[in-house]
Symmetry: C2
Subunit: 433 residues, 2 copies
């Protein structure tokens, strides 16, 4: 195989895994790695010089492919831009940069005749992107839904054993599954970036991350986990990207003039016998629906050193094999529109809800709740009151399909009621996208 010369930005966990896997593939020659500090102690160092000066890599005409595993938005995006202008192909694991700057980066790559490979940016070791882009090429992709964040899945799995959110987060941090500042994971940003990238492949448009509805897992309690289980569900943080919104229309027009897609991140009650319910710990699990194939389920390690490195080096091998073909980038690059799309706002979705309310145990509470829901077109499938008489009680409600705006209005009205001590939680229930 022809020799291909690589440069790499970053030598953290994933970068170290990449170096390890590359050692078996001599034709993929790592020439230089840019790191923040030369003094840091490392478990493994590549068989090539390290540098703190990224310019040495970007300006080296011999380096044909830039492997970017440093992460973050800035200054990474400017490095990528300049590498593309120097006609270097890119292999990146950076969902944030792609979600925020993808349209521009892909246009630039097209202009300069280079390819951007990014399998590692979504779902870690699961070859989800190549499945959508190549494996299901004959399909119109209708939706991609699933567990796309291993950190939150680990925390939720841990909470099922009866731990509080705080205790489960702490354990995840101690085991290296969660960052010291867990915001990107637990508040849904990480999943939103991944959904934007998935939408680009599945629907041809990146979706602006700021338009994606993000609801994280901070407010999930052990009580919610236990009640969900009692009703035959498990709570998972699901990301969904669907071609049409689930309002029945096939996509509405967003403010940008592009089609709006149904893209969102929120905790979801998943039936216990559903394949996604069995995805535990730091794994990812994704359902892909195509118009011809029907539904596929993919489950596997969504993060971690070797699984993510497996995706990066897989990209490198696929790229290297084709690199010498004339104009190969035009064949390998997915067709992504230069203008990003917007997500439709949550008010228009329809799905069933789980609600946990804390109420003062006074006569007629159930009736009052039922009346409020009725006036907002909300049909209740189950309502249960529990508690010590004369004290506070917990009311658990499962609804049929509800429009988001109807639920919002009903909750607003409930909050004004004297009998409500607190709105415990309102969590969506799984509904096929």
């Amino acid at each position: 195989m022809a020799r291909v010369v690589l440069g790499m930005l970053g030598l953290g966990t994933v970068g170290t895994g990449v170096v390890e896997l590359l050692s078996k593939h001599r034709h993929l020659t790592l020439k230089k790695v840019a790191v923040k500090s030369l003094d840091k102690e490392r478990s493994a160092t590549p068989n090539c010089p390290l540098t703190t000066d990224v310019e040495e890599i970007i300006n080296d005409p011999e380096i044909e492919v830039l492997v970017e595993v440093m992460g973050g938005e800035n200054p990474t995006v400017s490095y990528l831009e300049r590498a593309i202008k120097k006609r270097k192909h890119i292999v990146t694991a950076n969902k944030e940069v792609l979600a925020k700057h993808g349209p521009r980066l892909f246009a630039l790559a097209k202009e300069h005749g280079v390819a951007i490979f990014f399998e590692a940016s979504v779902a870690g070791g699961i070859p989800l992107l190549s499945t959508i882009h190549k494996g299901l090429e004959a399909n119109e992709i209708e939706s991609v839904t699933g567990i796309l964040n291993g950190t939150t899945n680990f925390i939720l799995s841990n909470m099922e054993a009866g731990n509080s959110y705080a205790a489960a987060l702490k354990e995840a941090q101690e085991l290296g599954f969660a960052e010291a500042d867990p915001t990107a994971d637990v508040d849904g940003f990480d999943v939103a970036y991944k959904l934007s990238v998935l939408a680009a492949l599945a629907f041809g448009h990146f979706v602006k991350p700021e338009t994606i509805y993000k609801e994280g897992i901070r407010n999930i309690t052990e009580e919610d986990m236990a009640l969900a289980k009692e009703f035959g569900y498990r709570i998972k943080l699901l990301g969904t990207a669907a071609r049409g919104s689930n309002t029945g229309s096939s996509g509405s027009t967003g403010s940008s003039g592009n089609t709006g897609f149904d893209v969102r991140v929120h905790p979801t009650l998943v039936p216990l016998d559903h394949p996604l319910a069995s995805v535990s710990g730091p794994n990812n699990g994704i359902l892909v629906r195509g118009h011809a194939v029907g539904q596929l389920t993919l489950i596997g390690p969504g993060a971690g050193k070797m699984p993510t490195a497996s995706a990066v080096v897989g990209d490198l091998m696929n790229l290297a094999g084709a690199l010498k073909l004339p104009d190969f980038a035009s064949y390998f690059q997915p067709a992504i529109d230069a203008s990003p799309a917007s997500a439709v706002p949550p008010l228009a979705w329809k799905c069933p809800f789980y609600l946990r309310l804390v109420v003062k145990d006074t006569p007629g509470v159930i009736g009052k709740i039922g009346n409020i829901f009725g006036t907002h077109n909300i049909s209740i499938s189950t309502i249960i009151q529990r508690g010590v008489e004369g004290k506070e009680a917990t009311v658990v409600i499962m609804t049929h399909d509800v429009l988001g705006k109807d639920m919002d209005a009903a909750l607003d009205e409930l909050k004004k009621c004297d009998f409500l001590s607190s709105l415990g939680n309102a969590i969506r229930i799984f509904r096929s996208a």
Copy 2:
């Protein structure tokens, strides 16, 4: 996109699905379809001439790609050979031809500079082959295990509801999931062909189908299904292809001089909480283990008109996009050795067993069975006797890991014992490959 001219052999269920999907892709021009009879009534006909003369397609220099969805070994293999010699690329769904003649066909294709695409030959709509070949390119594939036959999975799912094998088979036939002669499915031939193809991609060698151990589902009874469930298992027909045999060595040398792989088809007790246990009806579910990625699970429709057509047309689109690149076949074709490998014989495997024995209820039976197993190095984890006193009783045994040859020897000795009325069944229990 550049126009690509196709010819097709076969217009059955899958062929009709291919025609349907191709209608959206005008650059993939179907020029002619060869059928057995022009008089047959068809639910849909392509927008091109039909012929009963295959030569019209093979000898048409304008046709660049031959789509083979006629199935069967003969005369199909000779058509494929001659098409390759005429420098036509092949897209086929034919696992039998590949398993039996793959090494020769791939060598011939290499010689003539054409590609053979065969995603549809294994696991229907699940892009399992592209996952192994491209998605996991950076991995050494250690094993592929799973439910690879939708017909038998449908029958087994149906038997769980309490139906007999005969009744479940009849229903499968009535619903079109099973052939009038179900041999290829229920006796494991279909799975063996698929394993041979999977081994070619995963390990670089087709495995001679006649060397693959095949045990089908004909002897599974409702009683076995119920007992398995009681012990926390579900019975599935699993196919396994593993790089090393599970004897602890990393592959033994077969009689052909090639490495022998651990390749086999047999009913297996799968723990109820294992992802493969949840694969029901005509679906397929596959575990792929790679050295870097760890374990992936893929679940989806393993057969059927549109899922299989999705795989065929996906191949056509991937092929068409690259067809004009010089020498593209050398990039797209997996490296498969010209000499097929053999499977190691079952005597060398180790796994736990489930046994159901029908015995005369005389004193000391359990002790006698225990002694026989003990002398053959078989450690029993559970033994239960059930039945009406003085009449026949059922003894159910779960063992720890056993060598196949030890189990064979123990069963031979048991069969000579007066107390044994019949050897009900001996079924392997799932053990990670």
